[in-house]
Amino acid sequence: MAEPHLIGEAMTGGYGRGADILHGCTLSVDKGEIAVIVGPNGAGKSTAMKAVFGMLNLREGAVRIGGEDITHLSPQDRVAKGMAFVPQTSNIFPSMTVEENLEMGAFLRRDDIRPTIEQVYDLFPILRDKRRQAAGELSGGQRQQVAVGRALMTQPSVLMLDEPTAGVSPIVMDELFDRIIEVARAGITILMVEQNARQALEIADTGYVLVQGANAYTGTGAELMADDEVRRTFLGG
Amino acid sequence: MTARGFLLYAGMALLIVLTGMFQGWNLALTILNMGLISAIMSLGVNLQWGFAGLFNVGVMGFVALGGLAAVLVAQPPVTEGWNAGGLRLLGALALGAAILVGAVQVWKRKIGGSMRALVMLALLIGGFFLFRASLDPAVQAIEAINPSLSGYLGGLGLPIIVAWPVGGLLAAGAAWIIGKAALGLRSDYLAIATLGIAEIVIAVLKNEDWLSRGVKNVVGLPRPVPYEVDLQRDPGFVEAAAGYGLDPVTASTLWVKILYSGLFAVVLIVILFLAQRALASPWGRMMRAIRDNEVAASAMGKNVTARHLQVFILGSAVCGIAGAMMTTLDGQLTPGSYQPLRFTFLVWVMVIVGGSGNNYGAVLGGFLIWWLWVMVEPLGLWAMELITSGMSPDNWLRGHLTDSAAQMRLMTMGIILLAVLRFSPKGLMPER
């Protein structure tokens, strides 16, 4: 099998000098595909995302993108390698306008960012209407759109999303999932954590179930949905 | 205390002895006495910061309240003043207090939002004018009586030692009010609030002539120890002095200072003992638990704000006691001499340098920093003379440098504070 576009391989590590939270966890995703991580609260999903993005030091394991080892790069350098990350919490600049949020996302770019901003507005039309409004004043769903839009501003090849639908209404959630699929169709690789496991696995090419910092089940979205054990324990029947 | 602690204390004692040998025992005792008082202030701040992590930068205010207590307790009452308007003035103050209590009560009522605020505001504004209308005539009457010598109400005429605990109580009262308002808010808000209250206390002392003569100062406070002139007239004392080979004037000056040292040392030891007991008690352990993790402590059901209020009041009271002692030692209350750099921030340097969280460290810091504060000036002058010795005597720079040597103090204190924070953040005697 060819090397996947992004892989975090056998990652072991934790925060600072604290105990390990990840225990040999492996996550990978092929180009233009969607990988979804599900699992109980406190399983280490967010921690695994941060590890892939270089926000904590791994004791063991490696992270590679397009075959290149980036284990020792800082998050900023990973942005330069084409990665973008939408954290689970505080993922916008609340007192800045929507448009300024997008500009800050493109801070490292020196070329014309106007077309990218237009692409984001085309993807999330509501943001175009609200572009002069402070992002902190928007509704939960709109804020998540700003967060995703900000991450897209670097024109990444990999987009990492940590619970993008947390705290939004079901209708908005469907809408967001549609947009995420649209982004993936444009050739952007997506690695995301989701609470709404059932819906997320439906759109996933690959699914990972994480328990206590380790891979419990791995398979295509459909396989996991079909697995009785997974259904009973994680999808509520 | 650890071996390191004993060594440090021995070194400190040596510094004072050397000062006595080279610069005279009078200076050494002067430093020792203010060192004892500084050590008590430092203990007070250490209670708040070291035990509980409370950031009080209003030490000056509590110290000044202690000084006020010395006047109110020890000065003889001014009968003419009392006759002129004493009771009216007390009445006005009671009215003012009643208005404030009333406003707070209105605020606590559960009536509809804007109505409540309006009633409270009306009460406060109307009350303010009523208060001023009843206070002003009384104040005028009192201040009109012999203003160049008195013009105030005087005190209770009690022994001045009584003022020490009273100073603590006054400071505790002020701490209660400020703590009620600002504790539970963020740490730097408490800092600004205490900075403000200290300025207000000084403004009151400077302005309210009926209370303590304002900037006209109260001088000649009674003493807890004999006067030098009386000693010099006492044949027994003169004889004893001669036995040590001292002339009566020198001997009486030294003896008075030694008596003060004795009194202050007793107070310091008592407070240090109590502070040590408190530190080791369950109360002290809980305090430090709260300091180290406020969130966890309040999650465990500890009432953090109430605990903070306790320790804030205690620490401020200790500062008030020290303030009363200092005014006693000076024999006068001079509101103009209270400067935050000297009375608030210098005490902070003492605590940080000594070792926050360690009572012995705080005491050591009090002595050491006070010693430095006094000694930096002559040392600075000496250094400046050395630097400028090559210049001609009428050189402008030479004159400027020697004149400015006095300002070296603040810079030195700042550099010491920064150096300790950087290279030994736990201070000379770490908490553990």
Binding site: F93 | W348, M411
Partner: protein
């Protein structure tokens, strides 16, 4: 009718004009405090002494210019010296950051540690200023004293009350307006300014976006140097320069920044004027105005001064406490770190 006009003129002369000038000075000071809080996340106790240092540097340059015969016509020479004063202060602040604050930033020290560190810096700066220029009053305003003086105004209008507008008052208002406009243009329109706001809003996300924190911090110190020096020079021109007075300005400046909402520049400006006008209104002797404004029978006998001017700190303090009790994040939404 003329009574009403007289009342308005007296009010402007003694309350509105001086209050506006003082408010502008406090606002500039509070902007510095609030920027440091927003970016470096601590309350800088050395700010009053930074203002004193900047003013001192400007005074020294002013003296230098005067000694070689340069002046600025009817404007004070200090205005020419101001940019140089700002540059010197900027170097001092950058040096302080390098030598002192950066160490704690790398350690991710708690804000209160930085506050204590700033107290050490305060001591050193205070000592430095006293060492260089002494503790006395320094009056360095030259040029014309008045734009309009009271006598001219009375002759012009025929009113009993005069309105004196001092040159320094006008300069304060104009300079402060320019400084604030520049600051807001910088923060809202430039890439670097926006990156500062982003950093202040959400430090982690700013890092993820590739914003260089050290650069943001350095730019902040430079802006703070400009604001603090300008505030200090304007205050010194208006009144006089004295090291200790500048230290005492810390209280109303902090009050202004907190009342407006720490970390919020717009709030700092509003807070500056709220504090300044409250101080002036409450410590002003209203008799003069009321004599004109009230019918004869109701005219006041006393001075009608609510509080003696020495209690002006009490006013800032009372407003501060009221705001903290009822709206802890300030009038404009500030940060609550």
């Amino acid at each position: 009718m003329t009574d009403i006009l007289n009342a308005i003129v007296a009010l402007s002369n003694f309350v509105l004009v001086p209050g506006a000038a003082y408010g502008a000075q406090l606002a500039l000071g509070a902007l510095g405090v609030t920027l440091i809080y927003g970016i470096l996340r601590f309350s800088n106790f050395a700010h009053g002494d930074t203002m004193a240092f900047g003013t001192m540097a400007t005074i020294l340059v002013t003296w230098g210019l005067q000694s070689i015969g340069i002046s600025f016509g009817f404007l004070p020479t200090a205005l020419i010296a101001l940019p140089i004063g700002i540059a010197i202060t900027g170097l001092l602040l950058l040096g302080t950051d390098r030598a002192i604050y950066r160490f704690y930033r790398k350690q991710k020290a708690a804000p209160v540690v930085l506050v204590i560190v700033s107290i050490g810096v305060m001591f050193v700066m205070n000592g430095l200023v006293r060492f260089i220029i002494g503790v006395g009053d320094v009056n360095f305003a030259d040029g014309a004293r008045f734009v309009i003086n009271a006598r001219e105004f009375k002759e012009m209008t025929g009113l009993d009350e005069g309105l004196a507008i001092r040159t320094t008052t006008l300069i304060t208002l104009v300079t402060a307006a320019i400084a604030v406009a520049l600051l807001f243009w910088f923060l809202n329109k430039t890439r670097t300014g926006k990156s500062m706001r982003a950093f202040s809003d959400n430090e982690d996300l700013a890092l993820l976006s590739g914003i260089n924190p050290e650069r943001v911090v350095a730019v902040t110190w430079l802006i703070v140097a400009a604001l603090a020096t300008t505030a200090g020079v304007l205050y010194g021109l208006d009144k006089s320069f004295k090291a200790f007075t500048y230290f005492q300005l810390l209280l109303p400046i902090f009050a202004a920044a907190i009342v407006g909402g720490l970390g919020n520049p717009l709030g700092a400006i509003a807070g500056g004027f709220v504090i300044a006008f409250s101080e002036v209104l409450i410590t002003y002797a209203w008799k003069k105005v009321l004599v004109y404004a009230m019918p004869e029978s109701l005219e006041p006998s006393g001075l009608v001064q609510l509080l003696s001017t020495d209690y002006k700190f009490a006013v800032s303090f009372a407003i501060l406490i009221i705001v903290l009790l009822f709206k802890p994040t300030g009038l404009f939404k500030g940060q609550s770190v």
